[in-house]
């Protein structure tokens, strides 16, 4: 147990400016949203001026069992979001990020610089402009199909026939840098002697990865998954690419919230969705933490 350098009062003092911002710009809107989720607040029409308290009606509508799996409704949207999160965050970003970080672990030089720089470029280019380039990339006569044809694969109409795959590919491309950076820092903190010992015993690369790196990385993986799951739930950029279509086939939860909130201006219902999404993320975060700690206990 390390000795604390700051007393409790002093550490609160250091935290004070942050707490003021958190109270004003996080807690206040947070509680407003919870309160608003129990009203029929809208932007236009009579309910804009005098919103009524409607109790749990917004929530009941969201979980209306009769229609909720219908295209464009909450259940359908959640199901699409599950595909999107598993595909682009868990499989795409986390696995690819881990793969890149492992491949370039303890290496310096041009190859690493090229991959890291390009991945980070994809990550930091502003949202507003990135979709245009991707229209050109995924067009039936676009760059992706040109490359596929060069290696003998038939061209496909990505945005039209495979819209979900398209936004998964897009979000993987866009977000891998974060997981890559996180895992490469984590790997850099593992003493090289562990790996050298394994080399002496004659362990295969896969054994080294499974028996040495993976157990040491568990907690970092949990941290990574918590953050990227949350961000993938909230990312709005796929809208620029597909608009949630064709025919609602990519109507993930962030786009659903957008339609309800900013297209139909039903702020009460949009707030209820925001609360539900947060609760889902809270549950997922708890599961990731629980699993990573449990596993840690077993292997230690």
């Amino acid at each position: 147990m390390q000795k604390a350098i700051l007393s409790r009062e002093l550490s609160l003092l250091f935290l004070a400016p942050a707490l003021v911002f958190i109270a004003l710009f996080l807690l206040y809107p947070f509680f407003s949203i919870i309160q608003m989720s129990f009203t029929n607040q809208t932007l236009v029409g009579a309910n804009a001026i005098n919103p009524q308290n409607v109790g749990f009606q917004n929530y009941v509508e969201l979980f209306n069992t009769k229609d909720w799996m219908r295209q464009g409704e909450m259940g359908h949207s959640l199901w699409l979001t599950v595909q999107f999160v598993i595909g682009s965050a868990l499989i795409g970003q986390a696995m690819l990020g881990l793969g890149i970080a492992t491949a370039f672990n303890n290496r310096k030089g041009l190859l690493r610089e090229i991959v890291f720089t390009l991945a980070i470029a994809a990550w930091i280019i502003p949202d507003v402009v990135v979709a245009f380039a991707w229209f050109a990339y995924l067009d039936p006569e676009g760059t992706l199909n040109m490359m596929l044809q060069a290696i003998g694969i038939q061209p496909l109409d990505w945005l039209f026939d495979y819209p979900m795959f398209s936004i998964i590919l897009f979000n993987t491309w866009r977000g891998t840098a974060f997981s890559m950076l996180l895992f490469s820092s984590a790997l850099a903190s593992i003493p090289p002697s562990y790996m050298e010992t394994a080399d002496v015993i004659g362990a295969s690369p896969w054994q080294k990865f499974r028996d040495i790196l993976l157990p040491l990385l568990r907690r970092y993986i949990a941290t990574d998954l918590i953050l990227i799951t949350l961000w993938t739930f909230n990312t709005f950029t796929p809208f620029l690419l597909t608009g949630g279509g064709p025919i609602n086939r990519t109507n993930v939860i962030s786009i659903y919230t957008y339609s309800v909130g900013l297209r139909f201006f039903e702020f009460g219902k949009a707030s209820a969705i925001a609360v539900v999404v947060m609760l889902i993320n809270l549950v997922l975060a708890s599961i990731y933490l629980f699993v990573s700690r449990n596993q840690q206990g077993k292997t230690a």
């Binding site: 700051l6 400016p17 996080l26 190859l111 949202d127 402009v129 676009g142 950076l181 962030s254 702020f267």
Partner: protein
């Protein structure tokens, strides 16, 4: 340890990754120089700088890019970095109960609040503070939104500063604020810069907050003044101008990243701890 086989595999892997990450961006290389640019990658038949000339001569768009985006970006960067550095130090070096879980909870909060639904309370709050249509209003909201993640990343940098430095300063009789200012902060400065750039990039690209809180076109940042290159009536983009503006808009953040990467290495120092 590195066999030729591994070398070849790694080079192959690098080529595939490089192609994966760079090919979607090819459009930005050609379209801006094509007076007939469309949503496809075509090599311009008569490349010209006409698109750039037209964009550069748009006073409001350039003011958005060179003045407003810079003010909002740097204001958010400086504010967030300082506040998050203080807070991360307070959390890391203190004994607050539940401090490990605190940042996770805050990040969950911030995700709800960054959504569209929160724009109603945020607008009301900024209106009540009398800060509608001001840069400071936008900056405050952006600082509020980025603080949780900034603290989260910053905590690592604080942890990487050896405590012995601070203990030595304490023995010499320095006050906690002096220790932070003269010992810890200088040591973690690269970290503060990395978080700062990360926040700047976020603020640079942020659309919804300035769009909702600003009314005067003279105050709007580039992420919003993009609308100058849309047809207002139909909402259709004027693609050749958008492509040129997009390049001008993206270059500053890319250069900043390359600068920071060259100087310090753009990574998380010390590893993310829970």
């Amino acid at each position: 340890m590195k066999s030729p086989m591994q070398r070849i595999l790694l080079t192959g892997f690098t080529v595939i990754l490089a192609v994966f990450f760079v090919t979607p961006l090819l459009w930005f290389v050609f379209a801006p120089f094509n007076p007939q640019a469309s949503l496809s990658v075509t090599i311009p038949q008569s490349p010209s700088l006409a698109n750039f000339e037209e964009v550069l001569s748009n006073e409001m768009a350039m003011r958005g890019l060179l003045q407003n985006s810079v003010i909002i970006g740097i204001g958010t960067m400086v504010g967030t970095s300082l506040i998050a550095a203080l807070a991360a130090y307070g959390i890391s070096r203190g004994t607050l109960p539940g401090r490990k879980i605190l940042t996770y909870v805050l990040i969950l909060f911030s995700s709800v609040v960054s959504g569209t639904a929160s724009m109603v309370p945020i607008f009301k709050l900024i209106y009540d503070l009398g800060l509608i249509d001001t840069h400071i209003g936008v900056i405050l909201v952006m600082i509020g939104g980025s603080i949780p993640s900034a603290i989260f990343i910053m905590q690592d940098f604080v942890e990487s500063v050896p405590r012995s430095y601070e203990e030595a300063a304490m023995v010499a009789g320095a006050s906690p604020l002096q220790i932070f200012r003269d010992v810890t902060f200088p040591v973690m400065r690269p970290g503060v810069l990395v978080v700062g750039i990360w926040v700047l990039v976020g603020a640079w690209g942020s659309f919804l907050t300035p769009f909702i809180l600003l009314r005067n076109i003279k105050l709007m940042p580039a992420s919003v003044t993009f609308f100058l290159f849309y047809d207002l009536e139909s909402g259709m983009p004027q693609i050749r101008l958008i492509s040129a503006y997009a390049v001008l808009y993206t270059i500053p953040v890319l250069l900043l990243y390359l600068l920071i990467n060259w100087r310090y290495g753009f990574r998380f120092f010390g590893g993310i701890k829970q």
